[in-house]
Each structure stands twice: as structure tokens, then as C-alpha cells.
């Protein structure tokens, strides 16, 4: 909502400065978004007189002008405009002037060898409307040296407020003036609106043709004919006000409707009476009907929309836009003025469906003042008579203005209860009355009746808001929220704690946390097991952000590839975030995933051979994560293979059983990466945090007793020969089962294939740690255990000692 200061002052008698007005508007909830003050912006531009213009000695298209800028001494300016000529009055900007349109500051310069001390300006350079083919041409009467903006009457600041959807009443300058007056910034100029004298009955009838259940769609329509008008340009003051807020003046009749839309938040429509056939009927549109509207487009209508028709068909889309055929132009001599009430929801629906945004729709869908429907018609009639002449008919009224007033039983204590501030009932009542509320009651309670122009007022909380808004929300004293006694208790849920610990653990692994979009492309989703219809956006913002992600991996893989394209080949990224299996509440899971590409760890280093990230880097990340989350991994099974986006021979499923899968690790399938244009190989893991077993709840924090042995542990190494395809994990398990009491650790320290090992076999070096319990082990006892280890390994995995 925009308006010029002079327009506001027509309704508000105030001595407040622009700054005070702007500050007050924001303070009472009419937030000022922008103040366009041309006088300030254009202060340096002056009226200038071109005393002499000669062709530039070195350039055909330039002229050297001697310009009187009011300082007495003529200034030399080189100008490229075709209309620069001797005797012209125009606008001059001295060196140092900032040119808003070009975002440059004028400097003294030499143009093709001739000195130039300033610039003669076009309208565009001043960011004002006008011809841009040359420099501004001013009448001869313009006094050289005058500040141009002042001389041209451009020193009327335009204020733009960010109107919240609840404040329909402030969609008009008058409403804004009322709010400012209520806030104590002046006096509202209330003028009585007298009904125009009807000289003859209106020849056009109006019918509201609605079924009983639809009557709310068009409760009331007032119409009046003014005949014998002369339609031409509207007066300068009206044109200036409209132009200042960015509206193009068209002709007096149309300008009057636009003017009242902004002045009183009362949209109106004018029909050229001679282009209207017979009486008007207001009804639901019929599917298949269409209208060539004032925006020059033909709109297809349906029965959810309300239209105004005559004998020839649809003439106007109610409350949204009029039709081209019955519009007013300079030929119009007889005009029908319409002022109506429409259903806000229906107008919003129609506007949205047709994609029409108009100042009328904006106001109707927020709710206009029903009580002003008829006064609005009178005011418009008066303006037509004043500006275009003619004589008015008696009005035709169809339907009735609903006079439903919201009455709220309001205990004055409510302000204290909700706002925490004490405002005396008397003071509160005064504030409300200034806003147009009526109050009946005593010091305790009141019946508060909302004014007709405030459809947003529904209940007690709204009244509190009105009181506090004018009192100043900023004056509400800050009050400490009572704290619970003692130390603040822990508040995070298990999943919240897991997400946090997961992030720290993975960052501790040297991975960098990414946050990627929750939506991915269909290709990405499908490549990672997603793409379900129910997880597709109906209105994606971009084709590659169309499906809710089924996994964190597509986003991470794409992120890694973007970094590769930046020349950063070694990548170690992770994300902890939501993934989507279906659109239900339960279909959302919390996952932690990581990808590594290129060299792992610290990268190339003089002290060690660089290693490429592989499935084991991913396994380390995954296992570190599980450890950090305190998940007991003794029952964890690592089963070769995974879903089809994993490399079939270099990946594994992490599970506590076939139906308790918690995630995967390994290399991603080369075909998956190829399909997404990603340069692999990429090692990755993904763990679904919701699927991890919950920690066992224990009554105390006491840990199991620590049993320490005084006897030294001892270690024995074994080199086994097994089939190349045998799983080291099975061998470790077999070795461990040889003596569950004494064997405390089994680890693989070497895997070797090649010379010295038969074809198709591999050698696996296993270190076994024995912890004697009650006494030192004798050589014979150690021998016996070693033998048992070899036997178990042989029995369960076919291993033989090397």
C-alpha cells in the first residue's frame, strides 16, 4: 500500500514531520517498508537554461553547451542529446551528483578534448516518468537555478507500507489517517458524504440471481447512472497522486474508481451505459462463458465465479476485473457506477484461479467496509459530477448491506492477562473509541462493538491487540519467565542425542558435514530406491528438486561431484538428516551417511603411502559411528552385498538379523554413479538411526565391576591358509570359539596372496591374545589351546596352518 504524504494530509490534520509519521506508522503495525522522497534524492538537480549550443569540434553527435545554472557564470557542458539546443530550459546536474537510474556519480571530465562540468539530464536519469529520447524540456517560464524537484512539484514523499492481511481498513489512505489520529498524531478530517440528488430514475435494473445458499456471494449492489458526462483526462492533482503510487492515469471516470480504491479502500466499477444491453444480472458464471477483460486477456470462467451480466452476456468478473466491451473511454457520455459487496473467499478463489491480481481483488478478499458501500457510491457520483459534469439518476439498490456487528464481552483485566501491562479501563476505552469502537459498560467489563471496517476483530485477544498496539507494544515491560527450581534437567530425546553424537563422531572421523536438499531429482531418487508417486512434489521449484529423498546418499554424491568439478578431488562428506520412505509420519527416518572419494585420511603424505578411500574406510566410519552412539556391536552381522546401488562385491549390509537391518557400507555401484554423471569410485555408508537398538535402561549409573587379572596376557600368532573366497570374519569367529574363557582378543594382522601361497588360496595372519585367569599357563596348556584353535579353524573354515 502506497500513498503520497500530501494525500495523507488531506485526511489527517497534523503538524508531524515525515520522520514522525513514518516512525508512528511502524510503531502501530503499519510497517513502513520504503519512503521514496524525490526531493531528497533530486536535491542537486537544477533548472538550467542553455544559452548557447554548438556542434562539438571533434564529434558529430555531441554538442558543447554553455548553460546558465543560476550561479551567474555559465557552465560548459558536453551533451549528446539530439534536442539540446540554444534557448532550451532543461535540468542540470553539477559534478558530484548521484544519478539514481544509472547508479553513478557525475564527475568533471574532458569529452573528446572538450571540458564538461556536469550533465544535462533526461527524465530517465532522474528516475521520473517522461520522454527518454532526449534531455528534459521545460517551459520557458522555468527559472534557471531553481531546485528542479521543488519547481516541478516532485517534493511529495511517497510512503509504502507493508500491509498485513488482517488490516483491510488500512488499504485506503483514509483508514491510515484514522489509525494515525488514534495514535495521537493529528486529527482525522471527517467529511460528511451527502447523497447526490437523483434527477431521474435509473433506467438500468439490477437482479441478484442466487439460490438461497449462495446469497452470501453478493449481498448487495448499488448502481447509479450519470448521463451527459464529458470524459477526458482527470485533473492534475488526481493524476499526480495516482502516478506517485505507480498507477497510470487513463481517463477521469476510470481514475475516479482507482482513486477511491486507494483513498477509501472502496473498489468501484464503471460501465459505459451505452455499451450495456438492458438490465444487469449478478449470478454465478456458467462453465464455458468467457470475458475479454480490461487486462486485454480472455478469461475462461466457471460456476465457482460470480459475474455481472447484461443482455449480451458477461460484462464483468465481480470484484476482480471489468470487461473490455463495456469499459469507459473518452467517448463515454453516460456512465453506470457500481458499488458492491462480494464474498471475500469467493473473490480470493476467483482471482487465484484466473491469475488476476488487481487492487479491487486485493481489497475485496481482505474484506471491505460493508457500511461504506453506499457512501462509496455517493462519493464516486459526486466526483463524477464534479470532474465530468452530467446529471445523476436515483440509485438502484439490490440486496441489503448486512449489518452484523461484532460485539465482544470484554473484561478490562484481559489486557493485563495477555499483555502483562496495566492500562486503565478509561484510557483503554479512549484508545478504542478513537479507532471507531463503541464501548458500553463499567470499570470491570464492557461490551465492545467493532467498527464495520474491522472484519479482523473476532474476540478478546483482538481487543487487547488494539489497545496494546496504540499504547505501544514496546512499552510492555519485560518480565522474567519463572524458572524451575534447581539445576535445569536434561531435555533431549534419544534420537536428538543420537543425531548430535553422530555429527560429532563423524566430524571426528575427519568427515565434513553437509546439509543438502530434502528433495532430489527423480533419477537420483530412483537410483537409490525411491521415486514413489506419493513422495513426488506436485509443484517442484525445479525439475531436479522433485522427489523427497529416499536416502542421504544421492545428495552427498552430487555434492562430492560438485566439489570434484571445483578441482577438489578428495572428498569426505557426511550428513545427518531426514529421509522419506513414504508420506506418512512413520515414513520419515533419521539417517546418518557419509561418502569418501579419492585419497583417504590426510591424503598424500611423506611418511606413508597414500591410500584411496575404499569400503573399509566406509566400514571404519560406520563402526566408529555405532561405537560413539553406544550401540553394542557384539551381535552385529556383516553380510556381503546390499541393495542395487551398492557394488555387488564390495559392499555389505549391517544387521542384527535379517529383519533388523540398520544400514550398509561399501563402494557405490559404478553403474549408479555413471547414471548420475558422478566420477567414482565412491565409498559410502548409511545408517538409519531410528533402527538402532535402544540402550538398556538401568536403575543406576553404576557400571559392572572391573575384573583385573594380576597375570600377564600372552599373544600367539597363527598363519592360516584358507580358500581365497573364505571370509576372514568366519575364521576369526572360529578361532575365538576355541576357548571362550581364555581367548580375549582375536585380530587379523595380515592377509597375503601370491608367491608361497597355493593358487586359489590366501594366507591370513591371526593374532590371539590369551588372558590366564587363576594361574600362569604352562607350555603344555598353551600348546593344547593352540591345537584347539587350529582344529576349530580347520573344522569350521577348512583352514590349515601355513
Amino acid at each position: 500500500m502506497k500513498f503520497a504524504l500530501s494525500w495523507l494530509k488531506e485526511h489527517l490534520d497534523t503538524s508531524a514531520t515525515l520522520a514522525e509519521i513514518v516512525e508512528t506508522l511502524t510503531r502501530i503495525g503499519l510497517e513502513v517498508e520504503h519512503v521514496h522522497d524525490p526531493a531528497a534524492q533530486l536535491a542537486a538537480f537544477r533548472v538550467a537554461h542553455v544559452l548557447d549550443a554548438q556542434r562539438h569540434p571533434n564529434a558529430d553527435k555531441l554538442q558543447v553547451c554553455m548553460v546558465d545554472t543560476g550561479d551567474g557564470v555559465p557552465v560548459q557542458v558536453v551533451c549528446g542529446a539530439p534536442n539540446a539546443r540554444t534557448g532550451l530550459k532543461t535540468v542540470f546536474s553539477p559534478p558530484g551528483t548521484y544519478i539514481p537510474a544509472k547508479k553513478i556519480t557525475i564527475a568533471r571530465g574532458i569529452i573528446r578534448g572538450v571540458e564538461s562540468a556536469g550533465m544535462l539530464c533526461s527524465a530517465g536519469e532522474l528516475d521520473i516518468p517522461g520522454d527518454n529520447d532526449g534531455i528534459i524540456e521545460l517551459p520557458e517560464t522555468a527559472p534557471a537555478g531553481a531546485i528542479y524537484a521543488q519547481w516541478a512539484g516532485l517534493d511529495d514523499p511517497v510512503i509504502e507500507i507493508n500491509l498485513t492481511p488482517n488490516r483491510a481498513d488500512a488499504a485506503g489512505v483514509y483508514g491510515i489517517a484514522r489509525d494515525l489520529a488514534a495514535a495521537g498524531l493529528g486529527v482525522l478530517r471527517e467529511r460528511e458524504i451527502l447523497p447526490a440528488v437523483g434527477k431521474f430514475p435509473c433506467p438500468v435494473g439490477v437482479t441478484l440471481d442466487f439460490a438461497e445458499a449462495d446469497k452470501h456471494l453478493a449481498p448487495f449492489l448499488g448502481l447509479r447512472l450519470v448521463r451527459g458526462v464529458k470524459n477526458g483526462p482527470s485533473p492534475k492533482w488526481m493524476q499526480e497522486r495516482l502516478r506517485a503510487i505507480g498507477l497510470r492515469p487513463i481517463n477521469a471516470l476510470v481514475d475516479i474508481t482507482n482513486y477511491l480504491t486507494f483513498d477509501r479502500a472502496r473498489p468501484l466499477h464503471v460501465f459505459d451505459a451505452k455499451r450495456v444491453n438492458g438490465d444487469l444480472v449478478v449470478r454465478r458464471a456458467i462453465k464455458g462463458e468467457s470475458l475479454l477483460a480490461l487486462d486485454g486477456k480472455t478469461h475462461e470462467l466457471d460456476d465457482t465465479m460470480v459475474v455481472i451480466c447484461d443482455g449480451a452476456g458477461v460484462e464483468s468478473i465481480a470484484g476482480v476485473m471489468g470487461g473490455e466491451a463495456s469499459g469507459c473511454d473518452e467517448e463515454t457520455t453516460d456512465v453506470l457506477i457500481e458499488s458492491a459487496l462480494w464474498d471475500p473467499q469467493n473473490i480470493a478463489h476467483t482471482g487465484r484461479k484466473l491469475g488476476i491480481v488487481t487492487d479491487a481483488r486485493y481489497r475485496f478478499e481482505r474484506g471491505v467496509d460493508p457500511a461504506f458501500t453506499l457512501p462509496g457510491l455517493e462519493l464516486a457520483t459526486q466526483l463524477v459530477l464534479d470532474l465530468c459534469g452530467g446529471e445523476a439518476s436515483e440509485p438502484v439498490l439490490a440486496g441489503a448491506v448486512p449489518c452484523v456487528r461484532t460485539v465482544i464481552d470484554f473484561p478490562w483485566s484481559e489486557t493485563r492477562r495477555l499483555a502483562g501491562v496495566d492500562i486503565a479501563p478509561k484510557e483503554a476505552a479512549t484508545l478504542l473509541e478513537r479507532l471507531g469502537f463503541t464501548i458500553e459498560g463499567d470499570e470491570t467489563r464492557a461490551r465492545v462493538t467493532a467498527p464495520s471496517w474491522r472484519p479482523d476483530i473476532e474476540g478478546k485477544a483482538d481487543i487487547v491487540e488494539e489497545i496494546v498496539r496504540l499504547y505501544g507494544v514496546d512499552n510492555v515491560p519485560s518480565t522474567p519467565l519463572p524458572r524451575a527450581d534447581g539445576v535445569a534437567p536434561a531435555v533431549l530425546t534419544l534420537m536428538q542425542k543420537r543425531a548430535r553424537a553422530a555429527r560429532r563422531a563423524l566430524a571426528g572421523q575427519g568427515l565434513v558435514e553437509a546439509v543438502t536438499w530434502s528433495f532430489v531429482s527423480t533419477e537420483q531418487a530412483e537410483a537409490f530406491g525411491g521415486g514413489a508417486a506419493g513422495l513426488k512434489l506436485a509443484n517442484p521449484i525445479a525439475a531436479d528438486l522433485s522427489d523427497m529423498r529416499p536416502s542421504l546418499l544421492p545428495g552427498l554424491v552430487a555434492a562430492a561431484q560438485r566439489n570434484v568439478a571445483r578441482g577438489l578431488g578428495d572428498q569426505a562428506l557426511f550428513e545427518v538428516g531426514q529421509i522419506f520412505l513414504d508420506p506418512s509420519d512413520m515414513g520419515q527416518r533419521l539417517a546418518a551417511a557419509g561418502v569418501r572419494r579419492g585419497l583417504s585420511g590426510a591424503g598424500r603424505h611423506w611418511s606413508a603411502k597414500p591410500e584411496r578411500a575404499d569400503a573399509f574406510s566406509a566400514r571404519e566410519d560406520a563402526m566408529t559411528l555405532l561405537q560413539a552412539l553406544g550401540v553394542a556391536t557384539s551381535g552385529l552381522q556383516i553380510v556381503a552385498g546390499g541393495p542395487n546401488w551398492w557394488h555387488p562385491g564390495r559392499s555389505a549390509t549391517l544387521q542384527f538379523g535379517p529383519k533388523a537391518i540398520i544400514g550398509y557400507f561399501g563402494e557405490l555401484h559404478p553403474r549408479t554413479l555413471l547414471g548420475l554423471d558422478v566420477e567414482g569410485p565412491i565409498a559410502a555408508f548409511e545408517i538409519i538411526l531410528d533402527t538402532l537398538p535402544p540402550p538398556k535402561s538401568k536403575p543406576t549409573k553404576i557400571r559392572p565391576k572391573l575384573e583385573l587379572s594380576d597375570l600377564q596376557p600372552l599373544s600367539r600368532d597363527f598363519a592360516f591358509i584358507v580358500d581365497k573366497t573364505a571370509a576372514a570374519g568366519d575364521l576369526v569367529k572360529a578361532v575365538g570359539s576355541a576357548d571362550r574363557a581364555l581367548i580375549v582378543d582375536v585380530s587379523v594382522f595380515d592377509v597375503y596372496e601370491g608367491a608361497g601361497v597355493p593358487e586359489g588360496k590366501k594366507s591370513v595372519g591371526i593374532a590371539v591374545t590369551l588372558q590366564p585367569r587363576e594361574k600362569t599357563l604352562t607350555d603344555q596348556e598353551i600348546e593344547a589351546i593352540a591345537l584347539k584353535i587350529v582344529t576349530e579353524a580347520g573344522k569350521k573354515t577348512g583352514a590349515t596352518l601355513r
Binding site: I28, E31, P165, R167, Q345, A348, H349, R416, R417, L418, A419, E458, G459, K460, A461, V464, R469, D474, V476, S478, T479, L481, A488, V491, L492, Q496, R500, R503, R504, A507, G508, G510, V512, E513, A514, V515, T516, W517, S518, A533, G534, K536, L537, A538, I541, L545, M548, L556, N563, L568, Q571, A572, L573, Q578, F580, P583, D585, Q588, A602, W606
Partner: protein, 359 residues
């Protein structure tokens, strides 16, 4: 006796001249070993008369002591020399770089860090952390929050819809307010929660991304009013920006789910591309808030004449930008590792009240 004096002289000379441990050991064996010269002298004592033994015994034992001591001294000298030689050989180029630790490479995303900072601050004020799904129903995202069907307020938030399956039309939540609804439906007052999470709006330019993060706060009890709201916001912002104090400016505004509604500006100083809070003459709009609308309370089964409270909402990404100085929101979701390394946090940068939110 001359031979003892000679032996002493000879032994001490050999000890002094021994060039290394092995030579010294040979001298020791030759003198004090089983068959050593001094040992041999000692063996002669048994055959002597007590008178002789008394005399000779003292001399021989003195010789033995002298030799033993000289051996120890020489051994220590040799050990010292050997260590010196070893040290002279043991040098390395300490300017060679060590391998970096994963702890120096890993990073926490600023959004995660700020979320943790928020939960630390609000946990202290007794707020729990509530969460809910990103895919929501129209009812929880709009209707229960007092957005009437067809009301222009719904258009304030450009909503992403999911392709409708058989059944209800789902959408991506446009704010975390549906979590407030879920909390109020699940829990009786008193309620104190913050609801952080991802939210989605169909908007993409320099200052808008189709996905961003928000934290909302909700307090419902029988006494909480706007003054408490103001205090909580002051404490929160002061603590979050880690400044001694902040000045807030509240302005009336409109949100369908609060009444009265307010926008809050925070006092700041803009200086050379930097923003400082708790000082200066400028104001920056930072969050929206208000008293929970009676219709919302009613929709969630709470009697607005008995219970009351406030709600507020603020962008987490924006808080991160204001506190840590990132200029472009889009970079948050681009996963450029150069950006993440620069703006990210180290793995052990835990925000705490005792140690401070940031280091």
C-alpha cells in the same frame, strides 16, 4: 710389595685406556674375574699366616676397591660418550609436516552448531526440544493454526504440495508450527518447547531457498504473557549473540496463529559489512512472535480462557548468518567443502553454558 703396586698401576692404566664397554669388560675379567690377577692375589691370602694375612689382606682389598671404583667411573664415562655419539647421529628434519588428525579436518555444519546452541540456551530456561515430520497435513500446517481456507494469509507462504495419493493431500510444512500443534494435542499445559527443523517454501533467490531451517518456541500455562515473551526473547538473543545486553523493538504485526502478533527488531550497528548486536543505532527485523491465538488453543483442545501463552519463530540459517557472518543463504546447502571448512565448526566445539556457546 712391588708386585701389588705394579699390578695396581697396570690395572688402572688398562681401565683408563679401555676404549669401549667390551674392552673395559676384558680388563675387569683380567683383574677381578675368577681367574683375574687381583682375584688370584686374594686367593693367596688363605695360605698366609694371620700376621701376613692382616697386612697383605688390607693391601689387596684396597687394590680391589680401587680397581672396582675405577671400573665404575670408566663405565660411566664410556656410557656418556656412547650416548653423546648416539645423540650426534640421531637428528631429523623437524620441519617435515606431521599428518593431520581427523579432528582437524572434520567439520560441523553451522546450522547444526546453531541448533545445538539454541537447545543449550532454551534447555536452561526449561524448554524441551520437540520435533515433527516434514511432510504434514493441511490441517496441522494451516487449519489448526487458524489459517482459514481460502484466506490470503495462506498465500503468504508459498507451499509445496505432494502429489496426492488416495486420501488426504499432504504438503511440506511451511513452518515448524505444526510441531506446536502436535505438542499441544499430545501434552497438557504447562508446556515449554522449542521446535527446530527444516521447513519448505516455494521460493528461490539470493535471500530465499526452497528449504531452510526454523526454530519456534511455545510456552503455554496459566500466567505467561507478552512481558514474559519479551524477556525470553531478550535473554535468548543476548545469550545467543554472546553480548552483554540487547535492545529489542517490538512492533505490532499479523500472523494467523497469534493475537496479538508482533515483529521484533534488534538493535545493531552495521559497520563495514559487519553487524554487531547490543550496540548501535540501527534496527534489524529478526523474528515474529505473539500470544497464541485463542482459536489455535481451542483447535488443540485447550481452553483459551484458562490457558494462555506465547509463540515465536526465527530462521536458524538467518541466525547463523547474523552471528557468524555468512552472506549468501544458498551456500548453506551447496556443500562446497571450502565454505564448510571456513564456516564449519571443529568436532570438539561443543556449545555449553559453562564454557560459552562458541570458542
Amino acid at each position: 710389595m712391588t708386585d701389588i703396586a705394579t699390578l695396581e698401576q697396570e690395572t688402572l692404566r688398562q681401565i683408563a685406556e679401555a676404549a669401549d664397554e667390551a674392552a673395559l669388560e676384558a680388563v675387569r675379567l683380567a683383574a677381578l674375574g675368577k681367574k683375574g690377577a687381583i682375584s688370584a692375589l686374594l686367593a693367596t691370602l688363605g695360605k698366609m699366616s694371620p700376621e701376613e694375612r692382616k697386612n697383605e689382606g688390607a693391601r689387596i682389598n684396597l687394590l680391589k676397591d680401587k680397581a672396582t671404583e675405577a671400573l665404575a667411573v670408566r663405565r660411566a664415562e664410556l656410557a656418556e660418550q656412547a650416548l653423546e655419539r648416539r645423540l650426534a647421529a640421531e637428528t631429523l628434519d623437524v620441519t617435515l609436516p606431521a599428518a593431520t588428525s581427523p579432528l582437524t579436518r572434520g567439520r560441523i555444519h553451522p546450522i547444526s552448531q546453531v541448533m545445538e546452541e539454541l537447545s543449550v540456551i532454551f534447555a536452561d530456561m526449561g524448554f524441551a526440544v520437540a520435533e515433527g515430520p516434514d511432510i504434514e497435513s493441511d490441517d496441522f500446517n494451516f487449519t489448526k493454526l487458524n489459517f482459514p481456507e481460502g484466506h490470503p494469509a495462506r498465500e503468504m507462504q508459498d507451499t509445496f504440495f505432494l502429489t496426492p495419493e488416495a486420501g488426504e493431500k499432504k504438503l511440506l510444512r511451511t513452518h515448524t508450527s505444526p510441531v506446536q500443534v502436535r505438542t499441544m494435542l499430545a501434552q497438557r499445559p504447562p508446556i515449554r518447547v522449542i521446535c527446530p527443523g527444516r521447513v519448505y517454501r516455494c521460493d528461490f533467490d539470493q535471500t530465499h531457498t526452497p528449504m531452510f531451517h526454523q526454530v519456534e518456541g511455545l510456552v503455554i500455562d496459566e500466567t505467561t504473557h507478552m512481558g514474559h515473551l519479551k524477556w525470553v526473547l531478550e535473554e535468548f538473543l543476548k545469550s545467543f549473540f554472546e553480548v552483554k545486553g540487547v535492545k529489542l523493538r517490538m512492533r505490532p504485526s499479523f500472523f494467523p496463529f497469534t493475537e496479538p502478533s508482533m515483529e521484533v527488531d534488534v538493535q545493531c550497528r552495521r559497520q563495514g559489512g559487519e553487524i554487531r548486536f547490543g550496540e548501535g543505532e540501527d534496527w534489524m527485523e529478526i523474528l515474529g512472535c505473539g500470544m497464541v491465538h485463542p482459536n489455535v488453543l481451542r483447535n488443540c483442545g485447550i481452553d483459551p480462557d484458562v490457558h494462555q501463552g506465547f509463540a515465536f519463530g526465527v530462521g536458524i540459517d538467518r541466525l547463523a548468518m547474523l552471528k557468524y557472518g555468512m552472506s549468501d543463504l544458498r551456500a548453506f546447502f551447496d556443500a562446497d567443502t571450502r565454505w564448510l571448512e571456513h564456516y564449519g565448526f571443529r568436532p570438539l566445539d561443543f556449545p555449553t553454558l559453562a564454557g560459552g556457546l562458541s570458542s
